[in-house]
Subunit: 410 residues, 2 copies
């Protein structure tokens, strides 16, 4: 279990119009669940963002195609996810597997196949044993329950050491709106316009277009602002379903107060899940915010923050509790973004360690070293050039990362 | 000692017009040499390439300034290098240190300060104890010898486990031309238009402009094509000195056969040293060529090759001797370069493991695993899109890398 794991899985609220079931299909793992099914009631809005990898998995391509289609008015929807096998780089056979699995769900739940979204996560390049998944679908549909979300969060885990969940409750116009989300992710984490597997459910009334707009504009500061190892997955998928079952009025004007409250709630759930993914980063012992301020542009702030967050030298220094701010300087320098050595200010927590091109006169190695012993760290880089800022979150690079990933075909 | 180290340091030829001396100044390390001085006879041509880091060290900025100046006709030149302290991010004091050290050398050797080039390598952000270096300069100048190049290679080492040298002898027009080079580098290796510390000496007759042109066009395929950990140094410097003492005629036409032979010899020495740097990569147990072919453009080929070479997941799989070609596919996908999943062909050595969007029908896990046990590996990626190709070289990511870098302020 990651030392950064939350004390317990949160008590997620049930979302009217969403039911879950999980099963152990034996895709790869023994003695645990590895398939989850979510059924979403007719009339729901679905939105999604996905990996931009040019070698993305068959299920990702399939989801993108289906989301681009206009949904029948009275159609429900379903999400089926397996862990243990990513069905990525599996050629024509990959799409066949997606068709078999989503086809079986569509038949069992009596809905068009275009409304069944699937994800697969695990080893790349192995054929997906889709028959094993198809074999448990009848059992799954018989056990669907609004309370099954925690079990669903467990079924989608791969190298994760804990299931990840988050929720928000917002006051809408005339009623409460609930949001509940689950995620998996631990390695191959450097989302690019998407993330690991994330599923968020809400009872809000909102059109797919408005939901997609909110999702897309919140993803850059949440899931696209985390990195464990700079490796972008072939399978990243984030799907949001809004059932419209809340008593609150439809969110029709994105500039209205209720819309802003809902978007803030959605962002909060996304950020919470994103941070949980980093805290479960393979081998992580430290959770680190890289906070870049006063950059010339947003692009520069992002480049510098990610250059630091992905630097193996910075990440190993953090693992060793070494206040090695020189490596932070080097990572700023290599980023390709505009930086002026003599305007740079570096801080660890509230402690400024370097400014004006050199370490501060009253620099205290003891104080800096003491700070590095914290589980949660903030490394600040003030560029002194402009007004753009950006935070990204990462973890340290430890021996456990290598143990986990040098293992045969983990 | 790296398991990939060469059996012995090569017998480098003496280069007429170049002398070396080394000393133990106690900059940081005890019980070893840490300063080297090279004196180059009057009339030599000097060329150099340096890190593009925006936080580059004072000595790098100083070298760049001096190389941009027109050299007096009869001036000799000198190179003074210390290990143990990078004199990087040391503010105004950094340039003062450079001035003190190069000034002392200029005085001792009776040459203009503008012809004394310095490098520093080691910890970032600590004031350089330049007095310790100045104190050994008289002793160094008294012990200059054409045979001192191997000791010089040892004096510039930091976390290197072996000194690095390479040479070539070329038939010029009317005489032989010799080239001898030394390098240091082991971590923070992802050169960008330059490299670690590299010094190459030749007795060729060639103008500074022609020498710089050859150097600049060979650096992309040699030092800019290696990576240990994706971290670019603040101190990368590659300096070439041509003394003109060979009997061979001046290299005046870069399209002539002797010029081509000299450039090929220079490239060979650069490539040899670059590979030695990777083989001494911190914690390395495998030397890996990533060979990308049939990309749409040179930029795409380079992006894809570096994306694979810098992927922690690929590098840990290699450390674990796992033929995990799925991670190679993922690294191609995240690179941002054009790739078509269904045209991609991946091979390990001569063995094609995946093509047409999936692993080959006769894929043998045993054969692939057996191949991964080699010390030197070639991972081939044929994109099937165009005519551009690029090789880059890297090493695996092992526990030793973390041991070395999580150590307090290594």
């Amino acid at each position: 279990m990651s030392p950064l794991a939350p004390a317990k899985f949160p008590d997620l609220p049930e979302i009217a119009g969403v039911e879950f079931a999980s099963a152990a299909a034996g895709v790869k793992y023994a003695g645990r669940t590895d398939v989850m099914l979510a059924r979403i009631a007719p009339g729901a809005s679905i939105a999604g963002v996905f990996t931009t990898s040019s070698t993305r998995a068959a299920c990702v391509l399939d989801c993108q195609e289906k989301l681009a289609m206009r949904a029948p008015d009275d159609a429900g929807a379903a999400i089926i996810v397996n862990s243990g096998n990513a069905n990525a780089f599996t050629g024509k056979r990959g799409q066949e597997s997606v068709d078999k699995v989503t086809g079986a769900v569509a038949e069992a739940l009596d809905m068009p196949i275009s409304r069944v979204f699937s994800s697969s996560t695990g080893v790349i390049g192995e054929p997906l044993p889709h028959d094993k998944i198809v074999a448990v679908i009848d059992s799954l549909t018989q056990r669907l329950s609004p309370a099954g979300i925690e079990d669903a969060a467990r079924a989608i885990m791969t190298t994760d050491t804990y299931p990840k969940g988050a929720f928000a409750e917002i006051q809408g116009e005339g009623g409460k709106i609930k949001i509940a989300g689950i995620a998996k992710g631990s390695g191959m984490i450097a989302p690019n316009m998407a993330t690991m597997l994330v599923y968020i459910f809400t009872d809000a009334k909102i059109t797919p277009a408005r939901l997609q707009k909110m999702l897309s504009r919140q993803v850059d500061d949440t899931f696209n602002a985390i990195t464990v190892d700079s490796d972008t997955s072939t399978s990243d998928a984030l799907i949001v379903a809004a059932t419209g079952k809340s008593d609150a009025a439809e969110i029709a004007d994105l500039r209205s107060e209720p819309a802003k409250a809902f978007e803030a709630g959605l962002r909060g759930v996304m950020m919470d899940l994103a941070h949980q993914v980093v805290k479960d980063g393979e081998g992580a012992t430290k959770f680190v915010e890289i906070r870049v301020t006063r950059a010339r542009s947003n692009e520069d702030a992002h480049k510098i923050a990610m250059s630091i967050a992905n630097s193996p030298l910075v990440k190993t220094a953090i693992a060793g509790e070494d206040a090695n701010w020189g490596r932070v300087v080097a990572a700023v320098g290599k980023s390709g973004a505009e930086a002026d050595r003599d305007k740079l200010k570096i801080s660890f927590g509230d402690m400024v360690v370097a400014e004006k091109g050199w370490r501060v006169p009253d620099y205290s190695e003891e104080a800096a070293s003491a700070y590095m012993k914290n589980d949660e760290l903030v490394i600040g880089v003030d560029l002194g050039l402009g007004r753009a800022s950006k935070s990204v979150w990462t973890c340290d690079l430890t021996h456990r990362y290598i143990d986990i990933n040098a293992d045969y075909r983990s």
